[in-house]
Symmetry: C2
Subunit: 351 residues, 2 copies
């Protein structure tokens, strides 16, 4: 089959690799219907994170169950499934607490499982899923979703669940003012999540017209293009002299974390989901004197899928709108380039 | 009058200073009934924080209103009052949000107010209180509390409110396991607060027999004397293989913060109130992967006093038990020495 492999900074190739098979009775193999490129995939692409040796890449996919292991009963051939961006066991204390991303038996796509067996990356034609019943979320009554629904279902693999985690962690909701730092797919989903949770005043920080437009479509009431001191001043002005109750940090850099912290009112809530890209410090003395609560981290999207899925299926939310570009898998390199150059918000890949 | 002045590391003196008077119509002067030495007073005493010039010290006091400014109507001569460890205006957005410690017009004892006028330290015979109606909490129906009640009321000035803030910030409550790092007065009050909030399993980390005994009296179900890796292992063992849901960090050092973080389960809540004494870092990557929520900071004790006061007056809690030593104000230097050498948990000073 064909699958995407990163060889080093800027070097994305689509190559021939072995088609996966069921190795253990708890495995299933999923034929990928749609995958995509994540903002965090750009860290190795840009060389911010090292790539020691060529490896399969991609961690977001939806698809159709193709074969099942002998002990799998909750999934069957033909089921349409959403794969969270990591696999989890469903049985350890962390999974039972809903913190599936801290699972004692975590599985990363494009890596090896705890038995040392290879697990395919998501940007390919098929993936072997260990601990499949615990990891995958089946979409009931849907066998072949159309392109629009497929796109929205795919966001539940990562970005919509992650934006939701930021919003929940920041306690966005009725009566609370919200600022979203970051206008990538996660930040935009954060706007949508805050709106869905009942926030009425949502300020999106963005300098790109296309993203500003989508932020407004998702529920942003105000756009702030300024950054740094000017951005903080503008937020304060918009909110009548105070800072925001809930701030969503959806980037992961030192600058975005500082922007987020300084946009949060004393006693307010910062929800961060940007993968820390070095230097995204939390200054303890500032937190101490301001009583800002910091929550978030890697989003337990598996836990969130049921409630978000219901709203996707009912048409209440349409997070698939973050995909402003669709390309065949073979053009994965061009997809990375488009996202790196910010010509695309998020690219959907069709295998 | 007599008041305590710090001249430098280890150099505490009780000196003659001017008796305060009402300077503004919103001031009152309080005759101090009881004051005390705080763990955070030990930072300048030990030279961890510099003392550039001699200054009045102490920030916890209760006492009797002695004179009132012309615009003060909610307080009258003879009222018994509790002074939070900082003064606040009651009108700014922060005060209205209950985050009085981030007040736009904050007053620190032993400093100057926003008009540049001197404000006495708490470890003395009297204090001028600016913004008095907003700052002080009157104790209704109490004019001359006995020694035991006075001690408990005095804890509402700081340590009981601070322990409560740690417990609230860590979401201690029914069904949640609790670890308290720090066996000073704040840590012990944290145990009491967690118990009061309904936690059933409370593990106090302490190596001192007297503090262990008081922790048990306050509601600790288990004592862990080990620290570092051994301490974490012991917590995990006591909790049946998992870490704690709620961890209270009540010290402020790098070591205690690390101990607290490593005692918190993924997805758990860390409430910290220890004044950061340099290096109490929050490692963002660890927080990101564990989804630990960090809340707390300087406690808005003014906000908490009403509910805690009700329980003190009803006899439900007796936080004054943290005072294991009472000394006359003239012996302030000995009080600091006793706390520095950990011969006393907390010393109450009678002016």
């Amino acid at each position: 089959m064909r699958a995407t492999v990163i060889h080093g900074p800027g070097d994305i190739r689509v190559e021939d690799v072995d088609y996966p098979t069921v190795l253990r009775p708890t495995d299933v193999v999923v034929r990928v219907s749609a995958a995509c490129v994540c903002g965090s995939d750009l860290w190795p692409y840009r060389g911010v994170r090292p790539t020691k040796e060529p490896r399969a890449i991609g961690h977001e996919f939806v698809g159709v169950v193709e074969s099942v292991g002998a002990e799998v009963s909750a999934l069957a051939e033909g089921d349409f499934v959403i794969a969270p961006f990591v696999g989890s066991c469903g049985k350890c204390p962390q999974c039972r607490n809903g913190v599936t991303v801290a699972c004692d038996h975590l599985v990363s796509w494009g890596s090896v499982d705890e038995h040392g067996d290879y697990v395919q990356g998501a940007q390919g034609q098929a993936v072997r899923v260990p601990q499949a019943e615990a990891t995958l979320r089946k979409v009931d009554d849907v066998s072949l979703p159309d392109a629009g629904l497929t796109a929205s279902l795919l966001t539940l693999s990562d970005v919509m669940g992650t934006g939701h985690h930021a919003a929940v962690s920041a306690q966005a909701g009725p009566g609370r003012s919200v600022v979203v730092v970051g206008d990538g797919a996660v930040g935009l989903c954060g706007v949508l999540a805050a709106k869905r949770l009942g926030a009425e005043r949502i300020i999106a920080m963005s300098r790109h017209a296309d993203r500003q437009a989508l932020a407004r479509e998702f529920g942003a009431t105000d756009i702030v293009a300024e950054r740094g001191d000017d951005g903080v001043a503008r937020v304060r002005e918009l909110l009548g002299g105070v800072l925001a109750d809930s701030v969503l940090e959806c980037v992961g850099t030192k600058e975005s974390m500082a922007q987020a912290l300084r946009s949060t009112r004393p006693g307010g809530n910062l929800g961060y989901v940007g993968v820390p890209a070095g230097g995204a410090e939390l200054p303890i003395s500032y937190l101490f004197s301001t009583n800002i609560t910091v929550a978030g981290g890697m989003a337990p999207v598996h836990t969130y899928i049921p409630e978000l899925l219901a709203d996707v299926l009912s048409g209440k939310i349409n997070p698939g709108r973050v995909f402003d570009s669709v390309m065949p898998l073979e053009q994965a390199a061009a997809a990375y380039q488009a996202m790196d150059e910010r010509r695309a918000i998020k690219v959907l890949l069709t295998p």
